[in-house]
């Protein structure tokens, strides 16, 4: 059974600016093929997962305030089923890193990530989380959370507008929709391998 291009209710497939990445994912999944029963189950589960993404409250600076606006009435995250911001990583699906990560925070963030239940996702939100932003050259700032965590979606901006955050959220929904929950492995690289590789590199920053 072939995996189809992901459809989400909020926005048309063609309206997204960057479909190559999703296309390549779909192609990759179709290359191996999947059982019809498992494939149907996958679709059902992914439909549910993509529409109830619970974020972990993790805001270190300005982006967190914009994230609060997302939760308030005007932008209303509940439309995406993502309004249930959890305070414990054990109840959350993804971590949206909002703000600069500094040396002292890095081990804390890693630990929070490890406490998330699988399958888990990371969104790097804002310039600081993407690359260190305006503080990149500082003596104690991590130049992007992808140095210590595997990031799924990047949202640039300082801080990103709520609309941009929704765009990022929808990208994550699409990504989830083309994953194989059963059968295939969601993440090719094992997280332990990622951490081990990182441990060697992280000293350079």
């Amino acid at each position: 059974m072939a995996v189809k291009s992901p459809k989400i209710r909020s926005m048309k497939y063609e309206d997204f600016k960057d479909n190559q990445y999703i296309d390549s994912l779909v192609e990759e999944l179709n290359a191996t093929g999947a059982n019809v029963v498992v494939g149907k189950l996958d679709q059902l589960i992914n439909w549910g997962r993509a529409n109830s993404l619970w974020p972990l409250c993790f805001g270190t600076s300005c982006c967190a305030i914009e994230f609060m606006c997302l939760g308030a009435a005007r932008y209303d995250m509940a439309r995406y089923g993502a309004e249930v911001a959890r305070n414990s990583p054990r109840q959350a699906d993804y971590i949206m890193v909002q703000g600069t990560i500094v040396h002292r925070m890095a081990p804390v963030l890693r630990r929070l990530y490890e406490q998330l239940a699988e399958p888990r996702y990371v969104i790097a939100c804002g310039g600081c989380a993407v690359s260190g932003g305006p503080f990149k050259n500082s003596y104690c700032v991590l130049p992007g959370v992808d140095k210590i965590l595997p990031v799924d979606v990047y949202i640039p901006g300082c801080p990103p507008r709520p609309e941009a955050m929704f765009y990022g959220l929808m990208q994550l929904q699409r990504k989830i929709k083309v994953q194989k929950f059963f059968g295939g492995a969601n993440r090719k690289e094992k997280i332990q391998d990622f951490f081990a590789k990182n441990a060697r590199e992280v000293g350079k920053y």
Partner: protein, 543 residues
């Protein structure tokens, strides 16, 4: 001024004086203690507020610059410079027993410069990890990432501390101590906690449910802004101020611009002054609305969060139209503002002013008069006026203790001298008083906006500024009233394109300093309420 010089000269004959923006007293380190006691206790001097404490590295010497304010003498300021030549083991006598606010500030200086303070009760690092190597703000700091790589192992809890005690024979001895007693029951709150308003971490020692002591662990968002500014030109440094206390972005940037303008002798056009004032007040409204929403949400009143944000979006719309961004507006520039007002500005501000009074009534109906809210806040987190002054708690929190400390009134800047408004004071000294000051300040801000909105003068929005901004040699300190208190900027220039030292004196830094005092004796659940009512913003503390 001559009067002060005479008095200080009598107390401390070795002191020398430098005229500048404020009078600067040079004191040798060994005589500093004598002068400090006199500054605080001598009724002719009576400098009861320590406004800023700035660590310095002058390459050959290290030292500290103090800025004192005297509330009894019309908010007159005095600065004192203390230098030590020993770079290996620099030591200066503490003033944390005289001005309690110095406790954390001296720890900051120790963290950045390695200057140890004699008789300081608790000499630990404040922002950086306790296994950090070197002192980052020293000019000869080795920034090689190999020295301080990102350490992914968890940090040890810092339970050991020490203080330097003067022995009877005059020598100094290191005395080890513990942060908590051996049988204390310590609960950790943060850094990832929804109600600490960011990534603040508290360690609270409990006796049953009662808080015995709160240890503040900061630095989870310390980004090293002050060091970064030293490598940048003045216009480049501006954007950092928007990202420190993002809820008073306009005020912070206003302050830095004002400091640079003062140093360069630039006259800001009247139109820009009025625009700046209006933007500051809009920012204050937006900040207090957020504070209202969060304070109430921390107590479980989620509805108020939606109410507060509903009006806040209106303010953000005004910002967005004129500045092009909802947050981190980057609007003030040296000499004025970057862009002219949007054509809808006047209309939008009038609309906001028209709806605010009725909305405030609604808030009071929903939350302020609520019996649960009152039970949670009245009499909780007491901070007396004396303590507020001693800990330099300015802004709504200080005024909730009845201390008249509004910089807009004491050192009027921009257009504040032309408008009529009242300084909001509450005598409750508790969390409820702080909360009420915020709510009433929204009314005052609306009043200021109403007066200015029809009187925006025509003319240029920016003064002529040289392409390359160079400050003459000297030092300047400027304060503005940010949403959470007096925000100060200190610039020391050697006549170059980039600052030799730029220091941001943030109000929230002092606010977190009273957490121990205000929480002591209250329930652990009240710690969150007290923190919410003090309303600190963590990136402003950590910078």
């Amino acid at each position: 001024m001559a009067n002060i010089q005479d008095i200080i000269g009598k107390i401390c004959p070795s002191a020398t004086f430098e005229q500048g923006q404020t009078l600067l007293v040079n004191v040798p380190a060994q005589d500093w203690r004598k002068l400090a006691v006199a500054l605080k206790q001598n009724s002719d001097l009576d400098f009861d507020v320590l406004s800023a404490l700035i660590g310095m590295d002058w390459k050959e010497t290290l030292g500290v610059i103090y800025y004192f304010t005297s509330t009894s003498r019309n908010w007159e300021m005095l600065s004192v410079k203390v230098e030590v030549a020993d770079r290996e083991k620099p030591m200066i006598h503490t003033v944390s027993d005289l001005w309690k606010v110095a406790n954390f500030q001296e720890r900051e200086v120790y963290d950045f410069y390695g200057i140890e303070f004699i008789e300081h009760p608790d000499m630990r690092r404040f922002f950086l990890r306790n296994d950090w190597v070197g002192y980052p703000l020293r000019k000869d700091y080795d920034a090689d990432p190999a020295v301080n790589p990102i350490r992914m192992e968890d940090e040890e809890n810092e339970d050991d501390t020490y203080s330097l005690k003067v022995q009877p024979d005059g020598s100094v001895r290191k005395v080890k101590g513990k942060v908590f007693d051996a049988d204390d029951y310590v609960v950790n709150i943060g850094p990832q906690h929804p109600s600490t308003h960011g990534v603040m971490r508290f360690r609270a020692a409990l006796d049953g449910e009662t808080v015995k002591k709160v240890d503040v662990v900061s630095g989870y968002i310390h980004r090293g802004i002050e060091k970064l500014t030293e490598g940048m030109t003045y216009p480049q440094t501006l954007h950092f101020t928007d990202r420190m206390d993002y809820m008073s972005a306009h005020m912070n940037r206003h302050c830095l611009c004002m400091c640079i303008e003062k140093a360069m002798g630039i006259e800001v056009p009247a139109r820009a002054q009025v625009i700046r004032t209006m933007m500051d007040e809009l920012m204050r409204i937006s900040s207090h609305l957020l504070a209202f929403g969060c304070t109430s949400m921390d107590m479980g009143a989620t509805t108020c969060f939606f109410y507060g944000f509903r009006e806040r979006e209106k303010v953000l719309d005004i910002f967005e139209k004129t500045c092009g961004a909802r947050m981190s507006m980057n609007y003030n520039v040296i000499g004025g503002v970057i862009a002219d007002l949007h054509e809808d500005f006047v209309k939008d501000v009038k609309e906001l002013c028209a709806i605010m009074p009725s909305r405030l009534k609604e808030y009071h109906k929903v939350f302020s008069g609520n019996i649960i809210a009152k039970n949670r806040m009245v009499g909780v987190g007491m901070l007396s006026k004396e303590d507020a002054i001693n800990y330099d708690i300015t802004g709504p929190s200080g005024r909730g203790s009845g201390w008249s400390c509004d910089t807009r009134k004491k050192h009027p800047y921009a257009s504040y001298s032309q408008v009529q408004f009242d300084e909001v004071l509450e005598e409750g000294c508790d969390s409820y008083a702080r909360y009420m000051v915020r709510m009433r300040e929204i009314e005052e801000s609306v009043k200021i906006l109403e007066q200015l909105v029809d009187a925006i003068p025509e003319g240029p929005i920016r003064a002529q500024v040289p392409k390359i901004v160079k400050l003459p040699e000297g030092r300047w300190y400027t304060q503005v009233e940010a949403s959470r208190g007096a925000f100060g900027v200190y610039i020391e220039s050697k006549g170059e394109k980039n600052p030799y030292r730029m220091h941001f004196q943030s109000p929230c830094f002092n606010l977190v300093g009273v957490m121990d005092l205000t929480c002591k004796g209250n329930m652990i659940a009240d710690l969150i309420v007290i923190g919410a009512a003090l309303d600190f913003v963590i990136p402003d503390i950590d910078r």
